[in-house]
Amino acid sequence: MMTETVLDISNVSKRFGDNLANDDISLSLAKGEIVALLGENGAGKTTLMSILFGHYVPDTGSVSVMGEALPPGKPRAAIRAGIGMVHQHFSLAPNLTVLENVMTGTENLWSLGSNVSAGRKKLVEISQRFGLKVDPDARLGDLSVGEQQRVEILKALYNDARILVLDEPTAVLTKLEAETLFSTLKDMAAQGLSLIFISHKLDEVMATADRIVVLRGGKLVAERRAGDTSKAELAELMVGRKVTRPLREASTPGEIVLEAAGVTVRSGGVDRLKAVDFRLRAGEVLGIIGVSGNGQAVLAQLLSGTIGRTAGDLVLFGKGVGDLTVADAVANGIGRIPEDRNRDGAIGEMAIWENAVLERLPEFSKAGLVDRKAGIGFAQKIIDGFDVRGGTPTSRIRLLSGGNMQKLILGRNLIEHPKILLAAQPARGLDEGAVAAVHERILEARRAGTAVLLISEDLDEVMALADRIQAIVGGRLSPSVNAEDVDAQRLGLMMAGEWEDTTHAV
C-alpha cells in the first residue's frame, strides 16, 4: 500500500440552525485507498462530502488536495483539483446520449463546434481501461439504473478525477449490479485512484473498503481497518448502542388464509407473472425472494389491489375472489406495505393524519364528510404506539425520515390487527436501528396470528423472518422450502432459477 496522501480534510465543522451536522471532522485519504464512510441517515456523511465537493462552505476547517488548499464553496475548483462525485440521485439528462452526458460541462460554452470525436475517443479509452462497458451513443433514459451509474462514474473519470466520491452507490442497485460495481471500484483503486464511498450497509463496507470511518451525530466516532473489525462492532459504533436484529421463534401456523393457484398477470404482451402458486397460513411468514425486476413488484401490486389478474384463481379465507380492489383489500383486513414508500406509500404534501386514513376514508367519514377529529386521533395512536418521531398528526408526512415514515405506514396497517400483511421490501433504505424496529413489528404481528407475505431481495432479512421461502424468477415462483432446510447458497441458486431439485412442497 502506498502512503502518499491525496486528500486531507482537517477540523471541518458545519452547523445548520441548531443542528451541528459536522463537528470537527478530520479525515485523510491515501492514493489507491478505498475508504468507507459509514453512518446512519443524518450522521453527517453527505454534508461532509458536500463540503469536500464545494457545495457547502464549512464554518471552520479546510480541505486540501495533493497538499494544496481547496477554496471553499467552489465545485469547479474541486473538479479541477481532481475530485469526482457520483451522486445518489444521478445528475444526468435522460434525453441525451451517454457521450453527450459525459461531455456536458467539459467544453467551453462559447466555442461554436463541439469536439465530439476527441470526446468519444477519450470516453472509449476510459471505459476500456476501467472495464466500464457502455455504448456511447445509447440514450441515457434507455439504460438500466446500474448502467446510468456507470455513466455517472465515467463522467467523473472523464473530468480526470483522481479522487472519486460515491454517495450511497448501492441504494438504487440490485444485488448483482452492486457486486459488479464493487469489483470495478477495487480495480480502479488498484490503478491508483482513491475512493470514498458513503454507506450504511455493513456487508458492502466490510467487503470493499480498506479503511472504515464511522460518523455518528456529526462526529467522527471511530476509524478501523477492515481487517481489524467486525460487523457487530461497526453496527454498535454506528448506532451508538448494541443492535440486534430480532429472530423469529418457532410457531405452528394456522389455516390457509390466502391461496394463489396458477395466477398469471399479462401486461404489454408479456407475462409478468406466470402460473404462480402459493399458500399463506395464519401466523407464518412466507418469504418471496428474488433479484428485483423478476415480477415481485407485480405480485405485490396484484395483492395490493392495484392491478388485476389475467388467469388463475385467488382464494381468500377459503372463498374465491375475482380481482381484488384496494377497497376489498382494506375491508378484508389485508395490510399493505408498498415497495416504494415515497411513491406509493405516502402523499408527501399531505398531513400525517390524512396519510394515515386515506386508504380507509369510508371508516373515517360520514355522509361524504371527513371526520378530521377521528383521523387525528387515529394518527396519534399510531405515532404513540409505533414510536414515530419527528411529526405531529397535522404536520406534513414529508418531514418524517425514511425510518419514521415506514413506522407510520407499518402502524396504519398493523394497528387494526390485519389478518394478512403484505410487506414489500419493508426495510429497504432504512438504517440499522429502523430495520430492527420494522422486523420486530413484523414478528410481533406473526405472533398475533397475522399471515405475512414478505417480498424481499435481502437474504438476511428473509432468513431471519420467514418460515417458508419461495424464489421468484422471471415471473415464476419456485415451490416453497422450509427456512430451516436451506442455506444462503441454496437460496442463491433458487434466485438464479435452479430449484428443480429442491422440490418438496409444504
Binding site: 445548520f16 457545495h55 457547502y56 462552505v57 395490493s304 389491489g305 392495484t306 380492489t325 384496494v326 377497497a327 382494506v330 399493505r336 408498498p338 411513491r343 406509493d344 406509500g345 405516502a346 402523499i347 408527501g348 404534501e349 399531505m350 390524512e354 386515506l358 386508504e359 376514508l361 369510508p362 367519514s365 361524504g368 364528510l369 371527513v370 378530521r372 404536520s395 418531514l399
Partner: protein
C-alpha cells in the same frame, strides 16, 4: 447561495405572501409609470378612485369581478388536481351561447325562478362537455390537456362566432353578429338599482365558500387533492383516479360555463364575440394569484378587476396607456410565483 425547503409554514407567512407580492408588483409598475412621465402615487391614487371612487365605478368593478371569481375557481379546482384546464375561455363562451339559445328557443316565457336555474344548468353542462372531451383524450390516450384545452378555446370562439352570424343571429340587430336577446325573465335581478351589478356576485362568492368546504372537509376533496399531489400514491390508497378527475373536470368546466351564463344573463343579455375581455384566461391568473385557495380567489379576482377598471380611469386622466393594468397584473402574478417559492424554500448560504 442555496435553497432549502422550509419545514413549517407559519400562517402569518401564508397571509403576508400575496400582499407582499402585490406591493412588489406595484413598486415595479411604479417605475414604468414614472418612465411614462406621470407622478406615481397620484397615478395609483387615480386607479383606486377610478375603481372605487363613486357608486358607479365601485359597482362596475364588482360586476367585473363576478365572472373572474368563477373562472378563477374553475382554474383553481382543476389545478389542485393537476388537471391543466387552460380552456376556461372556450367553456365561458360555450356556456354563454348555450344558455342564451336555451332562453330564446326552449324556455322563453318560463318564470324567472324556474328559468334562471335551468339556464344555469344548461350553461354549466355546456362548459363541462367542452372539458370532458380533452379529459377523455387524456385518460384514454394520454393526450396533453394543456394543448387540447388551449386550442379548443379557438374552436369554441369560432363556433360561437359562426352561430351568432348564422342560425342564432338576431334579425333585429342591423346586421351585427350577435345572438337574440334572452327572455326578460331570464335576466338576473340587480343587486343595486341603477347599476349593472347583479346577483351573480353573490352567487360567485357563495360558490367559492362551497368549493372551499368541499376541498377541505369532504372525502372527495381529500381524494382529489391526493390525486393531484401524488397519483400513484393515491391509486395505492384506493382513490379512483379516473373518476376523481372526471368529477373535477365537471366542476371546473361547469364553473367556467356558469361564468359565461351569468355574464350574459346578468350584463348584456345577448352574446357577441367580445362578451369576455379574456375572463377565461384571466381566471388562470386569478387562481395562481390566490395560490389555488378558493377563498383567495375572491380577493384575487377583486384585485384584478380593480386594476382593470382603475387603469382605464387613470389612463384617461393622466395620459398613460391602459396597458399598465395588464403589466401590473402580470407582474403581480410573477411576484406571486416568486413569493410562493419563498414560502416553501428559504435561502441558505
Amino acid at each position: 447561495m442555496r435553497f432549502e425547503r422550509r419545514e413549517h409554514r407559519s400562517t402569518l407567512l401564508v397571509i403576508a405572501t400575496p400582499i407582499l407580492a402585490v406591493v412588489a408588483a406595484l413598486a415595479i409598475a411604479g417605475v414604468l409609470i414614472a418612465l411614462a412621465g406621470a407622478p406615481v402615487f397620484q397615478a395609483y391614487w387615480k386607479i383606486l378612485t377610478s375603481a372605487f371612487g363613486s357608486r358607479l365605478s365601485a359597482t362596475e368593478t364588482l360586476t367585473r369581478a363576478s365572472p373572474l371569481i368563477l373562472t378563477g375557481l374553475a382554474a383553481a379546482v382543476a389545478f389542485r388536481a393537476r388537471l391543466w384546464n387552460i380552456g376556461g375561455e372556450g367553456q365561458f363562451y360555450l356556456g354563454a351561447i348555450a344558455a342564451s339559445a336555451a332562453s330564446v328557443h326552449l324556455f322563453a316565457g318560463l318564470p324567472s325562478l324556474l328559468q334562471i336555474p335551468l339556464l344555469f344548468a344548461v350553461g354549466a353542462v355546456a362548459g363541462m362537455v367542452l372539458l370532458l372531451v380533452p379529459l377523455s383524450l387524456r385518460l384514454r390516450f394520454s393526450v396533453d390537456e394543456v394543448v387540447t384545452t388551449l386550442l379548443l378555446n379557438f374552436v369554441a370562439l369560432l363556433f360561437v362566432s359562426m352561430l351568432i352570424d348564422g342560425v342564432l343571429k338576431d334579425p333585429a340587430a342591423f346586421g351585427w353578429p350577435q345572438s337574440e336577446a334572452v327572455d326578460a325573465a331570464a335576466r338576473l335581478p340587480k343587486l343595486l338599482a341603477r347599476s349593472r351589478l347583479h346577483i351573480g356576485l353573490g352567487i360567485a362568492v357563495v360558490i367559492a365558500f362551497l368549493i372551499y368546504f368541499v376541498q377541505t372537509r369532504t372525502v372527495f376533496g381529500v381524494q382529489s387533492r391526493a390525486a393531484g399531489l401524488n397519483p400513484s400514491g393515491a391509486v395505492f390508497a384506493g382513490v379512483p383516479l379516473g373518476r376523481t378527475l372526471v368529477i373535477v373536470a365537471m366542476i371546473s368546466g361547469g364553473l367556467a360555463g356558469l361564468a359565461g351564463t351569468i355574464e350574459v344573463l346578468g350584463v348584456k343579455g345577448y352574446v357577441t364575440t367580445d362578451l369576455s375581455p379574456g375572463y377565461g384566461y384571466s381566471g388562470i391568473v386569478v387562481a395562481m394569484l390566490a395560490n389555488l385557495n378558493p377563498l383567495g380567489v375572491v380577493l384575487a379576482a377583486l384585485f384584478t378587476a380593480t386594476m382593470f377598471v382603475g387603469a382605464d380611469g387613470m389612463s384617461r386622466s393622466m395620459g398613460i396607456p391602459t396597458y399598465i393594468a395588464d403589466v401590473t397584473v402580470a407582474l403581480s402574478l410573477l411576484s406571486m410565483l416568486v413569493a410562493v417559492f419563498f414560502t416553501q424554500y428559504r435561502i441558505r448560504r
